[in-house]
Symmetry: D3
Subunit: 158 residues, 6 copies
């Protein structure tokens, strides 16, 4: 049987933390689908096309990683892909509370799908996309926080 | 002396967790007032009228439960009703931190009013209104999360 | 119907935080039973007799408060007293996690008994009996942490 | 390549929460090794032989689950078994903090071994072995907390 | 060498908690710079000029405290001022998680700058600016939460 | 005026986390006193003499760091040294809750003494002495967790 995991997020932008989680999960799964959630009515900082390009570039050499864009419920995406696992990274206790609630709801909506947690590596604990956006917005250098080699646009003038 | 408790919230929508807290509180109080906070400047997902109808329907047979709409400070509502208790449900440690801050401020504003906490039942831990809204928005089935028998409108097209 | 709440603990020693919780609960219940858990195989810092005397002294003028010693399960004590409520104070998020687990187990053992939480007042947040014992052991003055008027023995020489 | 996960614990006693985690992990791994940590200098409530028998009985029909006893570092056990995964259940935010620390140390000791977390099911949130022991010690009925069909000895007289 | 600490925030409004942190820090530093972060694209409740006036008034007699307005990254402000310390108050565990993430990012951006934490006094635990704004918006009296002597405008009609 | 900070602990053993906190605090204080709490009735894993030697060795070249052994209340030690600051490291939210309680009690016992918190560096988050002891007890290599160059005795046979 095929083992597929979905790694959902908005990746606005992808961080070194995301990159590490996907790489570490690769040993466990045949396929890891990095799924960019795109919801009407939510606004994003980096344009969708750029976020897609970044993910493709980061995992270009990782056989077993694919990228896609979806909207709607994550469990519906899993079902349509035949994926039985949702993969999530945990950084802090606050993360945990939030993730637990979502995982319990997903389990009620789709009991056959399991949410699996990996711990972020401590050097990436501080890395969450919203902070990285904040630094970028103020003109700070975010290259240490995103995967190597990404080309980052300058902040749009405030 | 009359024992009245106010159970404030936006009930957007009412959940099975809310329903259980009110029922469990009924043994302790003569009256439980389910109070829908309605604030200008805040936007809600379900219209006020629907939220009111739902609450009336859920507690139709529970003598001792009444429903009302208010705006402004919860402690002022309590004073105007002669209620000495604010009732709150606790689900997670994050809830607790948030509720503690509010309860301490309320105590400073109105020392004669006590905030009482009941624990949510574990099967309802994942139930918070904002997640239920999210599922509804994406076309998911929310009937397992709200009290039985509510008629739920279809999501407005995105 | 009679409304009785049990406030269980080891009260080793009773603190100003305990005192405040019991007083605040008195408006809600006809009787608050302060129940000293005494378990073989656990050791206590202050002798049982002293802990009992302290509690009797603290609540001497509070009609509606009684004190007793018990061993075994708290829910069994409640049943034997006809008490339908267990009363607990919450200070910190760590408290909450601990209390939630115990309350859920109690609910499974005795679904008819409800655990009710009051928030400790912020000026008593730091007050837990184990810290008070520690200060006493090192010869510190604990009179600001325990109810007024208790006579405290000197620490036994280390 | 063989996928083996180690599920370490003292299982004093095994709970329904443990049982559920192992079952849910079976889809992900070819083998789940339930490993009873037995350390000199630590005392246990139920005798080792009973804890072993219970685990064997619970997983008797689950091909892919084996049970063993070990002492020493969990990462050393993993290495000797060729297991690349440590499996852990998460219940509360307090659990998470504790587990994170241990997982980070294990990662430093053995970077090739990954710790994987599953969320406990909400109905088992309150289930931790130390509470179950406490209930047993006081003569309470623990059959709802441990897997079905285990024969439980009466508490030793206090 | 000069010891300068920056105390950043939006001070919307300044609270008694802020006031206490600055006063307590004065013994440690030669200068405490209270820095009002003002970011385009974020909206504030009280106008900038009022927030500035309030801070000047509160610390008028505290030699060693100065007030300024900045936008952009806090670490850049520190560098331009020659400040080696960022000062923050901690109230709750949720605060801590949030502050830890920011402090780690700041350390990565500017390793020579240290973030120092003081604990809020328990009587100010409930005081956070967003709650104070909420009370003001609903016409409640906020004078007990802000430093003495501030003149507070009435809420703008809802 | 002299600025002295006390860094209390049992240092059983000293970790790289402790080492980093002291070094980072050196810029802020003229003297940092590393104070080994030694309490009758508590048992330690490494002998006192070894813990003292380790600390002396680690900070041998850091002018401004001294080491001493004390028993009793930390605030009493501070008073006898003329130290106005207690220095503590924070790693996790659980740490925070624990430290907050102690700091509040210390403030009540000695309002003139301030507790100051530094955040542990993320690479040391997993480092707490009790885990290091556990690894040592099981024969694991702890050299990556303690300061460089310490000579570590072999574990005493179990």
């Amino acid at each position: 049987m095929s083992r597929i995991a979905v790694f959902p997020g908005s990746f606005d932008p992808v961080t070194r933390g995301h990159e590490a989680i996907v790489r570490r999960a690769l040993g466990m799964f045949e396929q890891v689908v990095v799924a960019i959630g795109q919801n009407t009515g939510k606004s994003y900082y980096f344009p969708l096309q750029l976020r897609q390009e970044w993910l493709s570039q980061v995992f270009a050499r990782d056989a077993g990683v694919s990228t896609l864009v979806y909207s709607g419920l994550t469990v519906e995406l899993c079902r349509s892909l035949g994926a039985r696992y949702i993969l999530r990274g945990l950084r802090t206790a606050a993360d945990f509370e939030f993730e637990r609630t979502i995982a319990q709801v997903n389990r009620q909506l789709a009991p056959e799908i399991e949410t699996l947690f990996l711990l972020s590596s401590p050097e990436f604990d501080a890395l969450n996309s919203s902070l990285v956006r904040e630094i970028h917005r103020f003109g700070g250098d975010i290259s240490a926080f995103v995967p190597e080699g990404l080309s980052i646009p300058p902040p749009t003038g405030q």
